[in-house]
């Protein structure tokens, strides 16, 4: 047995392939891009931390007395650089980037071996990988960098570590905020080209674009518009959001249209994760799914409900009587705590009914890009640019959104320099509640907030006053990154 020494000392697992042999064919490249998509299922990203933490950290929800302490440090603003919840976001985003880069390293080899008929397929794969890389970098910038004010300011602010290779030789250090955004934009431009729809694309023949679980040309524009808004590049925000709005490929889900089973289209969007306004959602099936967005808002065990967090009172009272988003999002229950709190709970994340029938509770597909956000991006860009008839254009976008959300919206909206940002802010809270935008919005608007205790809220954390531009609006770079040898990563003010 031991005589054949060399072979015995070369032990290989039966469930893995040497990295260099992994991607040679088109089919293997396709499996690798599925690996990139699979990384987005991580509960640290859209189906968990990245969606929930920014809104919990801000003023949208209250911890209930007796909660399990899940995300407790985040909610209480006790966020240290060793916080494992934020560290897992950082790590999971770089997992996306590394998987994309690993695939991109080997694509030239695949292309050399591929036939001409595979050319389009490989272009799509490359485009998807580039978009995934851009999206992950954009999210890193959103959580770990200060807001972008101007290119001059951004040249002098810290960005993120931009990675364009898997086998990287360059020093690992943070680029400037400007360079980081340019890195994202350049990937998006290339991705938009690679993912372009065919000239003869016809949704009726080739299938519709809405409700997609894969990236396409319009997913790229959706992120491009969002990035432009965050860069205070109003023109591009308007340009790219308009590309989507005007494409006609997406329609707002209307609360006045019935989807059957006593549901309107907007409720259908949340309870069955399907809609005409979703641009990209992370695809879940009963065999392949990520984290549970609703768990902390219900903790239902077929006996009682014990939510860790409940909506803030001020948010609940923001909705007009005819605003049917309230019915789609909230429903009052008596909780199973000994104090017996009765409160509207977040039905938005009660969970997809198809999963519920398999006893999989509180599981929703995260809808990362929706048409309504594009309207809000464009409206905010108009209000901020404030040229010509921008205010009335903004009012028109808000009206179109509300028309789809109100049982009857006849009054129209008046937007002025004075109320413009307030209308936008409130509409964003009402429409995008618990979708992970709030902390970023407060940061870029340079606003603080205050929490005051509400019924049965956890005493510790219920009275919190956060000033505008508090350093913790920017998450601390994980301690792990600062101490890792071979890298030179600068800390944030919040470190």
């Amino acid at each position: 047995m031991m005589l054949s020494t060399a072979s015995c000392l070369d032990q290989l697992p039966d469930d893995a392939i040497p990295a260099d042999d992994a991607i040679s064919t088109v089919s293997e490249a396709d499996q690798a891009i599925m690996g990139v998509y699979a990384a987005f299922k991580s509960p640290a990203l859209y189906s968990g931390n990245l969606t929930l933490l920014p809104d919990l950290q801000a003023d949208l929800a209250y911890a209930v007395d007796g909660y399990t302490n899940v995300y407790g440090d985040i909610w209480r603003w006790n966020i240290l650089s060793t916080n494992s919840d934020t560290e897992s976001v950082y790590a999971a985003l770089y997992t996306v980037i590394s998987r994309a880069n690993f695939l991109l390293e080997y694509l030239p080899r695949v292309r050399r071996n591929a036939s001409d008929s595979d050319y389009n397929k490989l272009e799509t794969i490359e485009g998807e990988a580039l978009f995934a890389r851009a999206l992950a970098h954009a999210e890193l910038i959103r959580m770990y960098c200060k807001s972008y004010e101007s290119s001059q300011q951004a040249e002098n602010e810290l960005g993120v570590v931009c990675m364009d290779r898997y086998y990287n030789e360059k020093p690992i250090t943070r680029s400037s905020l400007e360079a980081s955004y340019q890195f994202v934009i350049s990937d998006l431009e290339r991705a938009a080209y690679l993912l372009r729809l065919g000239e003869d694309y016809d949704p009726a023949v080739d299938g519709s674009l809405y409700d997609h679980t894969y990236f396409n040309e319009y997913t790229v524009y959706a992120l491009r518009a969002r990035v432009a808004l965050y860069m205070k590049d109003w023109d591009n925000a308007i340009k790219y959001s308009s590309l989507i709005i005007n494409s006609g490929y997406y329609t707002l889900s209307n609360v006045n249209q019935s989807a059957g089973n006593g549901m309107n289209y907007y409720e259908y969007l949340w309870q069955l994760d399907a809609s005409t306004e979703t641009i990209w959602k992370v695809g879940f099936t009963i065999n392949s799914y990520g984290g549970s967005l609703g768990r902390i808002f219900f903790n239902y065990d077929y006996v009682s409900l014990k939510p860790d967090y409940v909506p803030a009172l001020w948010v609940l009272s923001l909705y007009d009587a005819s605003d049917l988003r309230y019915e789609a999002f909230f429903r009052t229950y008596t909780t199973g705590y000994s104090h017996g709190l009765q409160w509207p709970l977040l039905m938005k994340y009660w969970g997809n009914a198809n999963f519920e029938s398999y006893n999989m509770l509180h599981l929703n597909m995260p809808k990362v890009f929706r048409l309504s956000e594009q309207y809000l991006i464009r409206a905010e860009a108009y209000v901020s640019r404030a040229q010509g008839n921008d205010y009335s254009l903004a009012a028109k976008d808000i009206t179109r959104l509300r028309t789809a959300r109100y049982s009857a919206f006849g009054g129209g909206v008046t937007i002025t320099a004075e109320n413009g940002m307030q209308v936008i802010e409130e509409e964003r809270v009402k429409e995008l509640y618990m979708e992970g935008f709030r902390l970023t919005d407060l940061k870029r608007w340079h606003k603080g907030f205050e929490r005051t205790p509400q019924q049965n809220s956890l005493p510790h954390g219920s009275s919190l006053r956060v000033e505008a531009d508090d350093p913790l609006f920017v998450w601390p770079i994980p301690q792990h990154e600062l101490e890792a040898p071979g890298s030179n990563i600068q800390p944030n003010e919040s470190n």
């Binding site: 015995c8 032990q11 699979a38 299922k41 998987r99 065999n287 065990d301 077929y302």
Partner: protein
């Protein structure tokens, strides 16, 4: 200890003329211990081929031809050989052979061989069968605590089936394994398999601590080696049968419990304003102590054991069978074992010996969940549940949420456990075959093949009818197989020059191939409690499999030399290759030397009678460590990921082909002194330096998204001293009293980290690695108590000033570590005629542990809906002037030094009283040789300042631990 140590042999002289060229010598050979005749003793004339063997009565006759004088050599396995000069006048020579197990001549199992204790240059501690065979535990490991210097044995839990944690002379490494190498009958085994071995089958356990004794094991020896030897056939004359049985009960060793009872809880709720809507009249009718609900105090233990052993000149055998059954003190915690062993040695020819050990064990066990906080697993939940919630109905059945008999707001943890059973089975086969040839005198060629196989299977169920399953249960099954093959070939040549220069040369080769694989599948949708198997589900919810394999190849040599039994020297060299490392760094060479001077044998000391032993030994050398995952040096891409039900691939690891061996260089100085044959002192000093430490080094997530990677970095130092004393206080006809004590000190220090980094905080562990400090030192904010004026919590800043702001920046290294630098044990054995009382204490000193349970129990508002410590009711700050350590209600705790507790302890590990039925009574029966009755208690007393349930826990954080148990057992041992 009733063996005589005075008279070794008797000579009977008869005066006769010495003229004859041929003479006859006859006589009788007996055993020193029991005075019985010894059959099959080889009697040989030195230098001649002539020999004789004693008959059934121990008699022999031998004729010496052509010599005036001759030397007769009497030898027998397991007995000290004797040489006697005879001549024509001798006629009769009666000999009493003594068993080879006394003091310095005690045999100690070392690497690839057995040596007399007084001839070793290295550092070896040995624990004998009598300490192990009656331990009321599934495995022998518990019995080793406090028995040997330098060996730290800590129970991880009171779970009957869990193995203790071992450490020899400190921690050598940060992330790679720190557990010693365990060798059972020449074959490496895992500590997880200890519970498969019947403790009564063990002959001895040797702890090899320094380079001279471990280096020959090279690979994996850096953390020391524990060599376990099972019993072999030694009973001469006739087969000896031993029956043992033991019964007992287990209960909590300590019952520290600080949570509120109903009355206190109600008072507390009223004080903090949590009383809205509470019906206290009804609630106050129930008062449950959850510790009593979760832990039983009379868990049963039973053990039955039979063994037969016999030694003849052709065949030695030891055969045993064992049944062991123990209930844990927690729900769903039990262990049952069936074990069979056969150890056989056959002398096939004069020059050839063959043998084999085979052990087969079957285990059936369940383990209670511990160590993590969950509201539904009983050990953890017992701390959260309110005293006015009763887990049982009035009729004693389990209260359920389905019919409202459970009043609590979360699940009844006892109902949860009852509805989520998990059972495990393990099948274990350990076998060794060897052949030993002696083609010429002094040369032994040995080849040994070992196979260690186990199969494990578990079934996990969640009952469909359990309300939280909503009518749809789940079932999981897993299966794992492991096979470890070891082949060892050695050649040993023993020779001397003029009887003064003695040499022992060993060369050898060893190969190890390990492979394990397994899978697990879980299905859901079962809707019938009586049909809970995999296939009665409706869909699979998870499926996994795994493979792991590794191989080692080694070549080694050792040379031992002694000059007239006074000066000893040895030298060893070994080279090892491991499949776990990259091609370039796969091989490493380890060396050692040892020197020893037995001063007692010097002629100048021959008249100094009070000094019975005086030895000085020095050794130095290296050994290696490769305890890392099997494939981490490889860059790999794996599957197992899916998106939209499409199978995907993704990079797993980027590998590190430069990965190589971690090496530890150990230097040891030992002084052994004996006085009046009564007092023995062993003093040892050592210094160990680990370099090329294998560490799971953090690397930027940006770089390949991994976050951590194995690398060879840094250095760590352990140095220490060990003292062992034993004294025979009384040695009289009826009375015997022996005391022994040992104490070990180890200083650990990180000498170098990686890439110029001098400190690294391990997030959420309260620990920091810092050069110049020990591994395991706590890094926390220092709690400064409570401001008597307003009840605020206070801390010290980094600079020692008092502040009421908890600031991350103010963390400091506290100089307290969870690795105890001091440890030891002491015991007493008192014998009066046939009664023996023995006590054994073990202790650990300067050991600190972060009591996480208190963070919840004294949460001051963070977890008020769960039960809290009664200290919150009585001792918290309530009004100005109160002096206490708990702040006013609402000031929630931080992870600071307030919860860091001294977990040093002194424990009466074992006390036993045994009675040997007197021999004169037994002789009448003609069959019984020995009858022994005993009662014993484990962990009878524990002295500690630790406020958790039990101070004995592994690791830095104490949370929802399954505590140690106290056992009361009684047993009977019959030999015939």
């Amino acid at each position: 200890m009733k063996r005589s140590i005075s008279l070794l042999f008797a000579l009977v002289f008869t005066a006769m003329s010495a003229l004859a060229q041929q003479f006859k010598v006859e006589g009788n050979v007996k055993v020193a211990s029991d005075g019985e005749a010894l059959i099959g003793v080889a009697v040989k004339i030195d230098g001649q081929p002539i020999g004789a063997v004693t008959d059934i009565n121990g008699n022999y006759t031998i004729t010496v031809d052509g010599l005036e004088e001759a030397i007769l050599v009497f030898s027998y396995l397991g007995m000290k050989p004797q040489r006697h000069k005879v001549n024509a006048t001798t006629h009769t020579l009666n000999v009493i052979l003594e068993e080879e197990s006394q003091e310095l001549n005690e045999l100690v199992v070392v690497a690839y061989g057995v040596r007399k204790k007084g001839t070793i240059t290295g550092s070896v501690s040995s624990v004998k069968a009598e300490k192990i065979e009656n331990v009321p535990a599934a495995s022998f490991d518990q019995a080793l605590q406090g028995q040997a210097t330098g060996l730290l044995v800590t129970s991880q839990s009171g779970e009957p089936s869990k193995a203790a944690s071992f450490q020899i002379r400190g921690t050598n490494s940060i992330n790679s394994g720190t557990s010693p190498l365990f060798i059972l009958d020449g074959v490496p085994i895992s500590a997880n398999d200890f519970n498969a071995i019947n403790p009564a089958d063990i002959e001895s356990v040797s702890v090899l601590k320094d380079a001279s004794s471990t280096s020959i094991y090279g690979a994996r020896a850096a953390n020391g080696v524990v060599v376990i030897q099972t019993k072999r056939g030694t009973a001469v004359n006739k087969a000896q049968v031993t029956l043992r049985t033991q019964w007992g009960i287990s209960q909590l060793a300590r019952t520290e419990w600080h949570l509120m009872n109903t009355q206190e809880r109600i008072a507390f709720e009223k004080e903090i304003g949590m009383d809205q809507g509470q019906d206290y009249e009804r609630l106050s009718l129930v008062d449950v102590n959850w510790m009593d609900m979760v832990f039983r105090n009379n868990a049963l233990l039973q053990n039955y054991d039979v063994s037969v052993n016999h030694a003849t000149d052709k065949l030695n055998y030891f055969v045993s069978a064992n049944y062991y059954d123990q209930e844990g003190i927690a729900q769903n915690s039990e262990f049952t074992r069936y074990n069979i062993r056969a150890n056989v040695d056959v002398k096939a020819a004069k020059w050839l010996k063959l043998g084999s050990n085979i052990m087969l064990a079957y285990e059936d066990y369940a383990q209670a969940d511990d160590g993590e906080y969950a509201l539904y697993t009983p050990i953890s939940a017992s701390r959260f549940m309110l005293p006015y919630w009763n887990p049982f109905r009035a009729d004693g059945s389990i209260a359920s949420a389905s019919d409202g008999s459970w009043k609590g707001t979360s699940q009844n943890p006892i109902e949860w456990m009852d509805n989520n059973p998990l059972t495990n089975k393990k099948y274990k086969l350990m076998s060794v075959f060897y052949a030993e040839a002696t083609p010429m005198e002094g040369l032994t060629l040995k080849t040994q093949f070992g196979a260690d196989f186990s199969h494990g299977a578990s079934v996990m169920k969640s009952m469909p009818s359990y309300i939280i399953n909503n009518g749809s249960g789940s079932v999981g099954r897993s299966s794992s197989d492991m096979l470890n093959l070891t082949i060892t070939n050695t050649a040993n040549y023993l020779f001397d020059i003029d009887h003064t220069h003695n040499f022992n040369i060993l060369i050898g080769q060893e190969g190890v191939h390990y492979r394990s694989e397994g899978f697990q599948a879980v299905t859901r949708g079962q809707n019938n409690d009586k049909l809970t198997n995999l296939s009665s589900g409706t869909r699979a919810v998870s499926w996994h499999d795994y493979y792991s394999s590794n191989a080692y190849l080694s070549f080694f040599g050792r040379g031992e030399y002694n000059y007239a039994g006074r000066y000893y020297a040895d030298l060893s060299l070994r080279t090892d290759a491991s499949s776990r490392f990259g091609k370039k760094n796969r091989w490493a060479t380890f060396w050692s030397f040892g020197l020893m001077w037995d001063a007692r044998k010097e002629s100048m000391l021959s008249d100094v009678n009070w000094l019975s032993n005086a030895q000085v030994a020095l050794s130095s050398g290296t050994s290696g460590n490769s305890t890392i995952p099997d494939y981490d040096h490889l860059a790999l891409v794996g599957g197992g990921e899916t998106y939209m039900d499409i199978a995907a691939i993704a990079p797993w690891s980027s590998g590190n082909e430069n990965l190589g061996w971690e090496q530890t260089w150990t230097t040891n100085l030992a002084i052994h002194l004996g006085f009046w044959h009564r007092l023995n002192l062993d003093l040892e000093f050592y210094n160990k330096r680990t370099t090329n430490m294998l560490m799971y080094v953090p690397c930027s997530y940006a770089d390949k998204g991994e976050g951590y990677r194995w690398d060879n970095i840094g250095a760590m130092v352990n140095r220490g001293a060990e003292l062992q004393v034993s004294v025979d206080v009384v040695r009289a006809k009826d009375w015997n009293w022996r005391l022994n004590a040992n104490i070990s000190y180890n200083h650990n220090e990180i000498a170098e980290l990686y890439g110029g980094v001098n400190e690294y905080e391990l997030s959420s562990t309260s620990l920091r690695l810092e050069v110049g400090h020990p591994y395991g030192e706590y890094f926390l904010n220092r709690y400064a108590g409570v401001n008597p004026a307003n009840g605020d919590a206070l801390w010290y800043t980094k600079d020692g000033e008092i502040t009421n702001v908890f600031n991350e920046e103010d963390k400091v290294m506290l100089g307290k570590s969870f690795n105890a630098p001091w440890q030891g044990g002491f015991g007493s054995q008192l014998t009066w005629r046939d009664l023996t009382l023995s006590l054994h204490f073990s202790w650990m000193g300067d050991r600190w542990i972060f009591n996480n349970d208190r963070f919840f129990e004294e949460s001051n508002g963070l977890y008020s809906v769960y039960n809290q410590s009664r200290r919150l009711l009585y001792d918290r700050w309530k009004q100005p002037g109160d002096i206490t350590d708990i702040p006013r209600y609402g000031v929630t705790p931080q992870m600071d030094s307030r919860f860091l507790e001294n977990a040093s302890f002194l424990r009466l590990k074992n006390v036993s009283l045994s009675y040997n039925v007197p021999q004169q009574w037994l002789r009448k029966t003609k069959t019984l040789k020995q009858v022994r009755l005993y009662v014993q208690a484990q962990n009878l007393f524990t002295f500690t300042r630790f406020t958790g349930i039990d101070p004995e826990a592994v690791g830095n954080i104490y949370r929802a631990q399954y505590p140690m148990t106290r056992q009361w057992t009684g047993g009977l041992e019959v030999t015939f």
